[in-house]
């Protein structure tokens, strides 16, 4: 039985650390803030979740409380990471750092219109 937990834990550790590395690489390579947020948030969330659960599985034989506490940390990470990235994306749009748009289509930035309407209402 302990062999099974060890295999599961080791596999989760490897997967998690690879995704954490990919999150760093995504932040390094992407061209603007929004794309960096996309890569950073998704990859580090799954990476952190998987690595922490892996540690929980490795120690569950000695003390089952490790798995419970690991699950709590995972839940907190899964709730707090998207909230902070959402707040940051909105703040960057309000600082007028508009996203890079490569295609020729004119409707690609649907938020600009709503944002300017809101601004007018605030001024009036």
């Amino acid at each position: 039985m302990s062999m099974v937990f060890e295999i599961i834990g080791g596999a989760l550790l490897l997967i998690g650390s690879i995704f954490l590395f990919l999150g760093g690489l995504g932040i390094f390579r992407m061209p603007d803030v929004y794309n960096r947020l996309q890569a950073g948030t998704k990859a580090t969330t799954l990476g952190g979740m998987s690595l922490i659960l892996g540690v929980g599985f490795l120690m569950v034989e000695t003390n089952w409380a490790w798995l419970v506490k690991a699950a709590i940390i995972v839940i907190f990470i899964a709730f707090s990471n998207p909230i902070s990235s959402h707040a940051l994306a909105r703040a960057m749009y309000k600082r007028k750092r508009y996203p890079i748009i490569t295609s020729k289509d004119e409707n690609m930035d649907a938020y600009r219109e709503a944002y300017e309407n809101e601004k007018k209402e605030e001024d009036a």
């Binding site: 590395f21 803030v33 960096r36 990476g47 940051l88 600082r95």
Partner: protein
């Protein structure tokens, strides 16, 4: 088993290095804050892994506190950038 932990730490260090480079290079305040957010998540995972290496249950509490509080800094910076602090 010990080699898996070594490999995990090496991947993590490379990820930290890339995020730190983005922190120094990043043209706007937003990029630096993204880098801070990524550093926080990677280091929380690193704290849990170090807790496994030391083998003490009480060490997980530090990672828990950092996971709960870590995003407050990012949200406060975002509110400041938005002009609504």
């Amino acid at each position: 088993m010990i080699y898996i932990i070594y490999i995990s730490f090496s991947f993590m260090i490379v990820g930290l290095l890339l995020a730190a480079i983005r922190f120094i290079k990043g043209p706007t305040a937003g990029d630096r804050t993204v880098a801070l957010d990524t550093l926080t998540t990677i280091l929380v995972a690193g704290l849990v892994l170090l807790g496994y290496v030391f083998g003490r249950y009480i060490y997980l509490d530090v990672a828990l506190v950092y996971g709960v509080l870590g995003f407050i800094g990012v949200i406060v910076i975002a509110r400041y950038l938005e002009g609504a602090l």
